[in-house]
């Protein structure tokens, strides 16, 4: 959730024509030019919470990236149905015989009740799928936000009005209902309903629907920032000296919207992760056998698991909490590093 509290303070520090100035701020004895980016980095490194959460977040991305390697070293994959391979590990209902969901030296996180997938590989591959989708959505949203937000703010007038109304309209759409309703439609654009839907089509569809309703908040913020930048002297100066609109946007405005952009995208990404997981939970996202974070929750809410195997739901649940908490803390730290005035 993006609260209006967080959206303030966009464009507090101004970068003029690239990253050259602001040497005044350096307090060391020897005068040394420090770019705002460098200052931000120094402030960020001092923030212990921020650094730790950055490591945690990095750890999750690393797991996602290295999932195939990890599972190779670990010697299992998320697709093997151990209920068929090693039936002695399961009782007649398909619940692991050993306590705690079948956790053992062989199966670190236990086995999934029912099909008996290996939970550890399923989780790391699930994280991989979810993060990949959410990252793609974030990139798409950031690009759209820049394009439409900066355009609306810079051009003003009719373009601003039109984009503003589009944003109003999209904000009024009930997001979850729209996702559920449009997923089958987007999928059917790629494959005929009689064929088996390949996983990549579902992934593309998930990215598309989340992107369609995900860019508005960022677009609005960038519009606001651009709007206030447009009236500043250095833009005026650039205009007077005959710079083209393209140059002004590229060289003067874009470097100055980097701050709100970075802060907002660190808040957006975990939201996309949980939203994507929610869709898979409802059964309209990624479906078995492709591993997915959210789909593990839908497995965890079946009666078989609820009745017999409490352990199973903790792995996706706790890992997601850690991920979201770390990402939100990181977002706060990034914001504070960029804008030291906004004390919490």
């Amino acid at each position: 959730m993006t609260s209006p509290l967080k959206t303030e303070g966009g464009g507090a520090s101004v970068v003029v024509d690239g990253d050259k100035e602001s040497a005044k701020e350096s307090q060391t004895a020897q005068v040394e030019g420090r770019s705002p980016g460098r200052l931000m980095w120094i402030r960020f490194k001092r923030d212990r919470t921020g650094v730790i959460s950055a490591y945690v977040v990095g750890f999750f991305f690393l797991i996602g990236l290295l999932a195939p390697l990890i599972s190779k070293l670990y010697g299992k994959d998320p697709y093997t149905v151990y209920a068929d391979e090693r039936p002695e590990l399961f009782d007649s209902a398909g619940v692991p015989v050993q306590p705690n969901g079948g956790i053992s030296g062989d199966f670190w996180f236990g086995l999934e009740p029912g099909n008996g997938y290996d939970v550890f590989t399923k989780l790391i591959y699930g994280i991989r799928t979810s993060l990949m989708i959410s990252l793609a959505v974030t990139v798409a949203v950031v690009l759209t936000g820049i394009l439409l937000g900066v355009t609306a703010g810079y051009l003003g007038g009719k373009a601003d009005f039109f984009i503003g109304r589009v944003i109003d309209f999209l904000l009024a759409i009930p997001a979850q209902l729209f996702f559920i309703a449009s997923m089958p439609v987007v999928v059917s654009l790629f494959v005929s309903p009689r064929d088996e839907t390949p996983t990549y089509v579902r992934v593309v569809a998930l990215i598309a629907v989340q992107w369609a309703l995900g860019w508005m908040s960022l677009g609005r913020i960038l519009r606001g920032t651009t709007l206030s930048l447009r009236e500043r002297e250095f833009i005026e100066a650039a205009k007077v000296s005959g710079a083209s609109s393209r140059r002004i946007i590229g060289k003067e405005i874009l470097p100055n919207v980097v701050t709100p952009l970075l802060v907002q995208s660190t808040y957006l990404l975990p939201n996309f992760v949980t939203a994507e997981a929610g869709l898979s939970f409802l059964g309209v996202g990624i479906v078995e056998p492709t591993p997915d974070w959210g789909q593990m929750f839908s497995k965890a809410s079946t009666e078989l698991v609820l009745q017999n195997d409490l352990t199973y739901m903790f792995f996706p649940g706790v890992s997601m909490i850690i991920f979201v908490v770390a990402f939100n803390l990181l977002g706060d730290s990034v914001r504070d590093a960029f804008d030291p005035k906004s004390a919490r």
């Binding site: 959730m1 609260s3 209006p4 509290l5 109003d168 309209f169 904000l171 009024a172 759409i173 009930p174 997001a175 979850q176 209902l177 729209f178 559920i180 309703a181 449009s182 089958p184 439609v185 999928v187 059917s188 654009l189 005929s192 309903p193 949980t274 997981a277 929610g278 939970f281 409802l282 309209v284 959210g294 929750f297 839908s298 965890a300 809410s301 009666e303 698991v305 609820l306 009745q307 409490l310 739901m313 996706p316 649940g317 997601m320 909490i321 979201v324 908490v325 939100n328 803390l329 004390a343 919490r344």
Partner: protein, 326 residues
């Protein structure tokens, strides 16, 4: 004030109109033909054509859309299932029941769930948030801040099944969540909804704690608050009279958005606990390519969002004397 309301209402109507078009087009992009599901096993092309004709699907899309708009405003007697008075969304393809009464039938579930949870999370969230801001920097503040951070990062699809597993399936302390109408049986109404309320309000309360705290802390740094303190007013008075009022604005905004979107169907909550509300209806309508039902739910949910947007904006004028509605 009146001009503001009229302008916003007109804007909302335009948005609903556009949304109905989008939903209409979305339906015609859906891969499943509703006629195929309705005619069952012994299905001939002639049967399908017949069903298409009965549903009006053989007409052109603009023509169908026009009929749809006409029926909403004026009602219709053309349905084989029976007459359909003014807000007529037609009859569900799947259940053959009129859509508007179905929506009204499901609404109490969603309203009970939402309002019950909203009361709890607003009270608990604001209470703990204000307490944390009042005791800023102390152990209480740190505990609440850390706790709310973790809890607000939980998802309903994790906490819901967890609570179900612990309290219902394994210890049998509570019955499975279910909806019983309040008018028929208030006790069962309460006991059936207690788990969904607790789960929904836990997560939301944690978000409101964070919001109330940060909004309050921000307000306490405002100039007018400092002036009031400098004048010698008591901390308590300044806290509850000066800062509190200003900190309400972002909270009211988010509360309006949350309430609006929950009242349009708390999809994941209803799905998790198997409650027959609007959200569940929406999931069904998509599963059966049920255009009248889908349009009904979609427009209803959007109306709720827009309605609460307008209410929130009107509230600003009462909270903040600087805001003038125009």
């Amino acid at each position: 004030m009146l001009r503001f309301l009229i302008r916003r209402t007109l804007g909302a109507v335009v948005i609903l109109f556009l949304l109905s078009i989008v939903t209409f087009l979305l339906f015609f992009g859906m891969p499943r033909d509703p006629a195929l599901m309705m005619c069952g096993k012994a299905c001939t092309p002639a049967n399908i054509e017949n069903i298409h004709h009965v549903l009006g699907l053989d007409k052109s899309i603009p023509e169908q859309y026009w009929t749809f708009l006409h029926n909403i405003v004026l009602g219709s007697d053309a349905f084989t299932q029976g007459p359909c008075p003014a807000p007529c969304f037609g009859y569900s393809y799947n259940t053959n029941e009129a859509v508007w009464p179905t929506l009204m039938d499901r609404l109490p579930t969603t309203v009970s769930l939402t309002l019950g949870a909203a009361c709890v999370f607003l009270l608990v969230g604001l209470g703990t948030g204000l307490l944390a801001a009042w005791k800023r920097g102390t152990l209480i503040d740190k505990t609440f801040t850390a706790g709310s951070m973790v809890i607000s990062s939980m998802q309903i699809y994790f906490l819901g099944p967890l609570v179900l597993a612990v309290f219902v399936y394994q210890s049998h302390l509570f019955d499975k969540p279910a909806y019983n109408p309040f008018t028929a049986d208030p006790v069962n109404w309460f006991s059936g909804l207690i788990i969904p309320w607790v789960v929904l309000s836990t997560i939301f309360a944690a978000q409101y704690t964070r919001m109330a705290r940060s909004s309050m802390v921000e307000q306490l740094q405002e100039e007018h608050v400092r002036t009031a303190r400098a004048k010698g007013m008591s901390r308590r008075y300044v806290f509850f009279r000066y800062a509190w009022r200003g900190s309400l604005i972002p909270i009211v905004t988010i509360f309006g958005i949350d309430l609006g979107s929950l009242l349009g169907g708390a999809v994941i909550t209803e799905y998790t606990f198997g409650l027959p509300g609007l959200g569940q209806l929406a999931v069904q309508s998509v599963a059966f390519s049920d255009l009248p039902l889908l349009l009904g739910v979609m427009l209803f949910a959007a109306t709720m969002i827009l309605l609460f947007n307008i209410i929130v904006d009107t509230c600003y004028a009462f909270i903040d004397p600087r805001v003038r509605l125009a």
